[in-house]
Amino acid sequence: MTTVLVIGSVQDACVRGVLTELERRGADAVLIPGTEIRTGLGLNCHFSGDELSGYLFVGARRLPLEELAGVLFRPGCAFGAFGTNLDEEQQYVQTELTAAFYGLFEGLHCPIVNRAGPGVLCGQPFNESALAAALRDGGFTPASVLLASSSEQALEFYERHGRQALFGLPLAPSPRLLSGEEGARTLAQQSSGPCYLQAVPPGRWQRVLVAGGIPFAAATGPEELGQIPTPSSPVATPAAYQYHCGRLAERVGLELFEMLVVRGDDGRDVCFSLNGYPLLESWAAPVCERVTAILSDRFACNVKRAAA
């Protein structure tokens, strides 16, 4: 295993950081820019039973699959190249390509950051019961949630949880915080249609980035919801976090993810969402360097093992 495949964009700090770190270590890395995923990538995946073999063409270069030491996959950049408002034919091609990648990733034995496919656990705990179970197993508490299309039920839940909740609409990019009387008015005026509310306990808001099972936490607040947060330095995490996040990373099968957590005054770590494709742009430079080093270690240990 000699080569790390990077699918994404150099505009992405994670891609840039990993490429730089791998180059510094003298490891071979090949970048497939998202813009070229349809035209610049030759896929040849042979499946025999559950054994995968074959190769990829990146430009003129032939990459045997068994020589891949790892894959950094950033689908936002990769599939973002398709754009939005696709016609039926473009949608079909995107679906076929996605299905091909899922098959490829399922068959590769090298580390993939992150492995995409059916059953990958990320998003909001109420979208995936298995994610909620994994969070509980990792020592986190999935936020209490109401899903409804009636403002009456939403208000009832809001009152019961101390008039502080994240309010979101399906397919909308991000929730917002409702609190106090103004929040109640917003809910009362909400026209019928699906929405969700996640109860927010009193406590400290944190973003928790986990790379290779190692957590980095930064203070955040409701004003940063839906924004790319200002790069912030990490804050100290409780000793138990190390264990909890390592266990959670194993359960969800993700090498890199970020959670929105409120550390409640009662000591519970309430989790609202788990993002499988975090942006390193929102973290201070020392954190980015640590994270890219951790990810490069995961790939590089494969390169070294092959060389030995």
């Binding site: 042979h46 499946f47 039973g49 098959g103 909620a132 899903l147 409804a148 397919l171 699906p194 969700y196």
Partner: protein, 305 residues
């Protein structure tokens, strides 16, 4: 109470509704297109459990009354003339999927299990790990590689989509070699042709129904359309194959599945795929197998999954 999600025009839903009425089963038929008008629902998931209610035709049902749900279709149902992917379509689908994902009931089938069929090479590998032989497969967008695979299979190969969309099996012919250049725009799945007799196995919980299909059509579902004869009969599976079918469904997280097998002249069983929402009425109307009744039994007595 049992919830049925789908459209009444669908033959599977029509069968289930008729059978449940006949058996005096307490059920609600919910067409997702009527959400917000004909019915709406709300529920909370909290550390102490899940609670909520469903409003339907002027009545309110507590969530605790719901024992199980059968999902035939959520996402592609839409009023005539409305384009797929519109906001309301997606929002309703999202809400119902969240319910089906979090409700502590038996759901046939939950979305995460159904999604394995959205990538055939992904599912094929999972099936192989569950113990079935699967055909040699190539997923490629390189014409030369497809040509070499076709030759390597002794010019006996099929192609079909890599995802679950437009998934019609087509036998590859020499004429197809001339249009392989079109592959460059979209990866496609090729498989070695496995000779033999098709066997569709419906898994309904622990119960199995095997139907042997004899035809000279490549894809027996379309035999009539393509002018081929087709006969179907109920058969018994060897115990080892029956066990593998149950293992495959369990490995994919499916409570109910339509598993496509082919029995070779040597007596070996290859598995092609597992369909999470099989149209079982097509089979039982030919064979008299009581597949739908087994599904009703499952919905009545199955444990939460």
């Amino acid at each position: 109470m049992i919830l049925l999600f789908g459209a009444m025009t669908d033959s599977v839903m029509g069968f289930l509704v008729a059978r449940m009425l006949e058996r005096e089963v307490h059920f609600l038929f919910l067409d997702p297109r009527n959400h917000g008008d004909g019915f709406h629902m709300g529920w909370s998931v909290e550390p102490h459990g899940c609670d909520g209610r469903l409003h339907f035709a002027g009545r309110t049902y507590p969530l605790s009354d719901i024992r199980s749900a059968y999902v035939r279709e959520l996402s592609t149902l839409r009023p005539e003339g409305q384009k797929q992917g519109t906001y309301d379509d997606g929002a309703t689908c999202w809400l119902l999927n969240c319910f089906l994902e979090t409700a502590p009931i038996l759901v046939v089938n939950r979305a995460f299990a159904s999604m394995t069929n959205m990538s055939k090479p992904y599912q094929t590998q999972r099936i192989a790990r569950a113990g079935f032989p699967v055909p040699r497969t190539l997923v490629t967008n390189c014409p030369d590689e497809a040509r070499a695979f076709y030759e390597g299979c002794g010019r006996r190969a099929i192609f079909k989509s890599t995802s679950g969309i437009r998934s019609i099996v087509v036998r590859m012919k020499d004429d197809d070699l001339e249009r392989l250049d079109r592959l460059r725009g979209c990866p496609t799945q090729f498989q070695e042709w496995i000779p033999g007799t098709d066997v569709r196995v419906h898994v309904m919980g622990e119960r199995l129904f095997a139907t042997e299909v004899t035809t000279d059509a490549v894809d027996y579902r379309y035999a009539g359309r393509d002018g081929h004869e087709r006969t179907m009969r109920a058969v018994e599976l060897p115990p080892d194959i029956a066990r593998r079918c149950r293992d495959t469904a369990a490995a994919l997280g499916l409570v109910s599945a339509g598993i496509d097998l082919r029995r070779t002249p040597d007596g070996e069983y290859y598995c092609f795929e597992a369909n999470p929402t099989p149209g079982f009425t097509f089979y039982q109307q030919y064979t008299g197998q009581r597949i739908g009744d087994a599904l009703v039994d499952l919905l009545l007595t199955g444990a939460p999954n």
